[in-house]
Symmetry: C3
Amino acid sequence: MGVRLLELAMEVGGTLHGDGTVLIEDAATIEHAESDHITFASSADHHAAVEGCRAAAVVVPPGFPALSIPRIEVDDPTAAFARIVCRFRPPREWEIAGRPADSLPATSRCGDGTEVDPTAVVGRDVTIGRRCRIYAGVVIGDGTVIGDDVTLFPRVVLYEKTVVGDRVVIHAGAVIGAYGFGYRTVDGRHERLDQLGHVEIESDVEIGAGTTIDRGTFDATVVGQGTKIDNLVMVGHNCRIGKHNLICSQAGVAGSCTTGDYVVLAGQAGLADHIKLGDMARVAAKSGIMQDVPAGQTVAGLPAMPEREFWRLWANIVKVPELRKQLRNIERRLEGLDASAERDAA
Amino acid sequence: MGVRLLELAMEVGGTLHGDGTVLIEDAATIEHAESDHITFASSADHHAAVEGCRAAAVVVPPGFPALSIPRIEVDDPTAAFARIVCRFRPPREWEIAGRPADSLPATSRCGDGTEVDPTAVVGRDVTIGRRCRIYAGVVIGDGTVIGDDVTLFPRVVLYEKTVVGDRVVIHAGAVIGAYGFGYRTVDGRHERLDQLGHVEIESDVEIGAGTTIDRGTFDATVVGQGTKIDNLVMVGHNCRIGKHNLICSQAGVAGSCTTGDYVVLAGQAGLADHIKLGDMARVAAKSGIMQDVPAGQTVAGLPAMPEREFWRLWANIVKVPELRKQLRNIERRLEGLDASAERDAA
Amino acid sequence: MGVRLLELAMEVGGTLHGDGTVLIEDAATIEHAESDHITFASSADHHAAVEGCRAAAVVVPPGFPALSIPRIEVDDPTAAFARIVCRFRPPREWEIAGRPADSLPATSRCGDGTEVDPTAVVGRDVTIGRRCRIYAGVVIGDGTVIGDDVTLFPRVVLYEKTVVGDRVVIHAGAVIGAYGFGYRTVDGRHERLDQLGHVEIESDVEIGAGTTIDRGTFDATVVGQGTKIDNLVMVGHNCRIGKHNLICSQAGVAGSCTTGDYVVLAGQAGLADHIKLGDMARVAAKSGIMQDVPAGQTVAGLPAMPEREFWRLWANIVKVPELRKQLRNIERRLEGLDASAERDAA
């Protein structure tokens, strides 16, 4: 089943340097490549790592320094390597067991080419676009509207009246449209406020496994076009997430926050409620945001501050033990001076 | 489809100030209201925001300052606005496809008016009360007991022998009763300790999407009456959560903690195991609790301390860079003094 | 239904001290035991607690100090108590509704003694070993391979080509094999990188409810033998988790991290991407790891540092307010000295 290196070079349209007859059995990253594998390096930074690895050959960008193993030069090594990986281990389309179109409720409908697993549950008055893939165990609430080319992986739940754009991908177990966490306390009991809104997911959004996005109280909770959300993220009710944001795993956005475009929230970051982040604002991992962040600013810490300030402060904080020693020295010297001053006075 | 403002005022029993013939097309919050919408303000604090918004009319509390747009005065503007929202966008009851009562296992039973989706899986010896709503894909383990008026949203899992009170709401994807994370290490392998307990959810509890509550080791893990838990929260084995707590998103409560009544955990807070929080204790967002907290105290920080101390400490911490500069100044002055002392002595 | 204490002592092979005729009605932990219950103490540390509790009898280790209530002495009180709990409240095996073997897709197969709930969805080319338990609503993607004696609790999702070893337990709602969070930004749009790998769960691993483990980009994301993962944990793409790790609830491991053997991550800890933790490294709760951790080291803080340093630093940090006061004193004294020096000079 091996493939000659020359053949791989031709397949990815690359320039071969070295012995093209080498037989390649599989493709793996630098750390995990065996002696009959091909690997790849995205930049010259990985030169030493490639030299130290066990691979038989490597895909590199143009101008990569000389190596002791054969190499294929291409403009985009990552994409070329992906193609080679697919040659050895073809990705398998996860098939959906067909379902007769007339198995949906009478008031719901699907566009051409859409596949709905027979175990998926579709509510009333639901519209699903064309070429969608609705996997096993998905639950779609009444009145939901879904665009074209959408993928809902197994067990996604969309509560009633959710709106989903085109080319959206939602991973297994995500829950869109649960009630917001809003209560008022009457006679010692927490009464839930009405949660009359819904969730709107714009086109090209991707949402990770287990993530939850709550509906708005009166309006929509919105996730803007092109935004990517990782696993186990919480987006609270009434939030308006901008376009092309990147929200990393386990980040939490409390109720009624708004983010601009191209905002980044690193892992486990948290926003208090009603926070506004400007365009291109960035929040470091684990930070806790208690104040609005202007456009373009990167913040870090708990409570968060501009990242540069945070690190300057931190550099000072770690000196505190030393600082206390200095202080004790100074006090001793002062006592010496006092004593000598007293002697002088005497 | 528009409605005259006067008609809306009458519907909510409010007092109209201004032109009642204005035609209203929809209801939206201040930030999102268009020029043919009605909005609302819960207090006079929002006066400037209302003046700056585009809405055609507004619902306000009595005594709200004068405005350039017509207003409806009512005692509870939020409730009145909710009613108006429902007029324009009626909430839709998410229907459950009927299921014949005899489709349950022979040893299980449901009370009158309970609806169980045909894709929900009900185990043996399960008792479900009256007027419950069991949505698609819910899984109810053997021996579980559920009270009246309970809603289990899609894909909730109750492990065997769970006990659920009346009027409990559990959102999609929550998992109640998985094994506690308890192991002992024998010959280099972690062996799971027996997890023989179960979970008891008292009446009027609400549990958010994706939240997990583990069973007790020998007894019950208990969530007390009226407590509200947000999304993606973890409650560990053997915990006893008190009554009327509010536990915000992504908070984590490690094993064997107890909380009093009216405790609040803000988002992403974490409790070490065996922590006790007194009645009305409050934990700030992202705090890490390593010691018991007495009744009524608010704590913050990592490790947590009384909130006031935390902020006082923080105000001092941000001065540390300045402090180091002061210290350098002092040392220079001391050297000056030393030098002059030497000169004096000479 | 009560049982004489003597009978319980005989059942667990223990030595009875005190009145064996006492009638025991149930078993409960020290805090929750009623006056007709038996309880247990794992060590003499709990002597005072036992004396203060309401239980009628107690299971203790050899050499436990004298007590006012009857006791059963055994070598392993926890195991003996678990047996007694089972006598009063037998754990119930959560049964799986049978499914005819031929209901799987033609290209998939199950070993002897394996039970698959009829609502579980099994893809094509799936191999499931012997004596497995596949609960309701589980979804198993195409090409997945599962070993012997595996338990998949309700609603677990395994994406295509997942590999699962023997004796693995995965709790409800966990998602294994979703796409990694890897994008590159082209013309202002985030394009997902190919996610061609899969997830490999080695033998004896346990995975908690709602936990998510993403597939590798080109290779496998691996969870090593005997590792135990708690609820709502995130393991990113390309991670290689070592053997016998303990990863507590809500911890997050970003992409391409590797951990040695016997590593412990406490609750809500977070690792930046590409971090390496040595064997037996330990990460304190809520810590944020931004640098590799050598074998055997315990780290804490945000950013994390060796735990001892962290606590030393913390002990100094809490003194900062005092330190500022000292500094003000010193400045006053210096002013005094300056003044007297001026007087001297005058």
